[in-house]
């Protein structure tokens, strides 16, 4: 039995990448809405960080779905998931959430860029102006539902795994919350990284706002990870065995302690704490912190997916 190939392994790394991308998309949209409403107001579309979030969110969610489809044993039959629904299935409900989320995501992005869209379409396609005007009447509804569906999508990535009764480590009520929190922080990190790559000012007020939110978010993640494993240990039996099997010696133990706890959580937390929300930021600092966060979240998805399937009841 090796760390990446073992008998009880059913879902391998493409699923972890999909979970990561779906969470990052949901988080990017969530933070884009926050930035628009609490920091930037009307000219939000001019911010490189909001622009980055609006690129990351659709690209990530569609790339994730692409990976998911290619990972099926019958990729050409994927449309059956869209036609047949099982209300008891977490995956079925997740597909619904993903579809509705994407509708509101595109509507919200359209409304965000309404000014440039209207200006471009004014002489070319005047009909579009009527449509954006009609859409803007529902802006509050679209924003509210986008927030709800992005949070639902972030939690769904965890529910997908916690609905598996055969794996004691995955059948864990904390998992959806942990994945939601880490998904949100990956969305924030990808917006920051994308923003500075688009040459946005690394010392902008958007960066200060996100970093201010990031400290409590990382602390929450640490509490959730602790609760996750404490719950397993206190459940005893195979759950306890699964917990120690995951975070003990071995490949995945290193990934957990060095990669997730060290680089992914302590690193960004320390950088955020040392450089308080008020001090001046440089390009390398913002990009570096964001990269650490993203690596941490990607490792967490793989770690949970693989170690979760190592122990069966």
């Amino acid at each position: 039995m090796s760390a990446l190939h073992f008998d009880t392994l059913v879902w391998h790394w493409p699923i972890a990448i999909y979970l990561f991308l779906a969470g990052a998309s949901a988080g990017a949209m969530f933070f884009a809405v926050l930035l628009k409403h609490f920091v930037l107001k009307h000219n939000a579309y001019q911010s490189g960080f909001v622009q980055a979030a609006c690129i990351v969110a659709p690209v990530a969610v569609m790339a994730g779905l692409g990976i998911l489809v290619l990972d099926l044993t019958k990729p050409l039959d994927f449309w059956k998931i869209l036609v047949f629904y099982n209300p008891k299935s977490v995956m079925s409900m997740g597909v619904l959430i993903l579809l509705i989320y994407q509708v509101f995501m595109f509507m919200w992005i359209g409304l965000l860029f309404r000014k440039p869209i209207d200006a471009w379409c004014e002489s070319r396609f005047p009909i579009v102006l009527k449509f954006t005007a009609w859409l803007s009447r529902f802006e509050a509804t679209i924003t509210g539902l986008l927030v709800i569906f992005s949070l639902a999508l972030g939690a769904y990535t965890g529910f997908l795994l916690s609905a598996l009764p055969g794996y004691p480590m995955l059948k864990n009520p904390v998992l959806p919350l942990l994945f939601l929190a880490s998904g949100l922080s990956s969305g924030a990190a990808s917006s920051l990284l994308g923003g500075v790559l688009l040459n946005a000012n690394p010392n902008a007020k958007e960066v200060h706002f996100i970093h201010k939110v990031e400290i409590p978010l990382i602390l929450l993640e640490i509490v959730l990870i602790f609760t996750f494993f404490m719950g397993l240990v206190l459940s005893g039996g195979q759950s306890k065995f699964a917990a120690f099997n995951a975070i003990g010696y071995g490949f995945w133990g290193w990934v957990f302690w060095i990669g997730i706890v060290g680089l992914g959580l302590s690193g960004p937390l320390a950088m955020n704490l040392f450089m308080t929300a008020t001090s001046k930021r440089k390009w390398a600092y913002v990009a570096g912190t964001a990269c650490l966060s993203l690596i941490g979240v990607l490792l967490l998805r793989n770690f949970i997916l693989y170690t979760g399937q190592m122990t069966v009841v």
């Binding site: 009880t8 059913v10 879902w11 990972d71 099926l72 044993t73 019958k74 039959d77 994927f78 059956k80 998931i81 036609v83 047949f84 629904y85 099982n86 209300p87 008891k88 299935s89 977490v90 995956m91 079925s92 597909v95 802006e139 509050a140 509804t141 509210g144 539902l145 709800i148 609905a163 598996l164 009764p165 055969g166 794996y167 399937q309 069966v312 009841v313």
Partner: protein, 228 residues
């Protein structure tokens, strides 16, 4: 802005109320359906005291259901030897679908390709509806599902529902067993052999604490390993 926020909240509340109402209605109609239950519910007993590990059941299953090489709907797992020579013995146990009453594979399947047949209680797979997401394989606590390399759909034991049972015969494994270690029949029929054997013998089922209510019973050999 304030007004539209209020309208949004009102709308959301109305939507939630409507959704929960619809769910309640669905539950009520589902419980009405449950009253008219069919009179057949199949179960299987593996009597490990009679099993000699000849694997005739495995061969018969493969032939009858056209199970390709490399995968299996049914496996006889051998442990041992136990005891001192010359009184050595092996223990044989059956690994196949347990036909859970509350089947995790059926609950997680996004397309409904995994389903419990209402007429017989048999957990089955609709190979056409299956897209191969492998959620059912991950969800099964008994780890008995697999992807059929020919159809690319999830596959497993279905008590020969589409083969022998459809022709009014016993499942292939039951018919092939030379020592009559397998007993198959209708749990709802008090005079059936399954019910008689279940009443006369102490039986065990695997992982009952998960609440899946499996319908594969085993009569444990007295001379097996005692493990805690």
């Amino acid at each position: 802005m304030e007004n539209s926020k209020r309208r949004f909240l009102k709308g959301t509340c109305a939507l939630l109320a409507g959704a929960s109402g619809a769910t309640l209605l669905a539950t009520v109609s589902a419980s009405n359906e449950a009253k008219a239950e069919p009179s057949v519910k199949y179960a299987l007993i593996h009597d490990e005291t009679k099993c000699i590990g000849c694997k005739a059941c495995e061969v018969a299953c493969r032939e009858t259901n056209q199970v390709p090489e490399g995968v299996a709907r049914l496996k006889i797992e051998q442990t041992g030897p136990y005891g001192e020579y010359p009184n050595q013995f092996y223990h044989f146990s059956r690994k196949s679908c347990q036909h859970c009453e509350d089947a995790p594979c059926v609950n997680v399947c996004p397309t409904g390709a995994a389903f419990i047949d209402k007429e017989t209680g048999i957990v089955s797979v609709d190979a056409w509806k299956c897209v191969g997401c492998q959620y059912c394989i991950a969800a099964c606590p008994y780890k008995i599902r697999f992807i059929n390399p020919v159809t690319h759909a999830a596959d497993k034991c279905d008590f020969c529902r589409e083969t022998n049972l459809a022709q009014g015969k016993q499942p292939a494994c039951v018919a092939a067993c030379p020592t009559k270690a397998l007993v198959f029949g209708n749990l709802k029929d008090p005079s059936s052999q399954v019910v008689q054997v279940l009443k006369a013998n102490p039986t065990q089922r695997a992982k009952v604490d998960l609440g899946t209510r499996p319908k594969l019973f085993r009569i444990v050999a007295k001379s097996g390993e005692v493990a805690i």
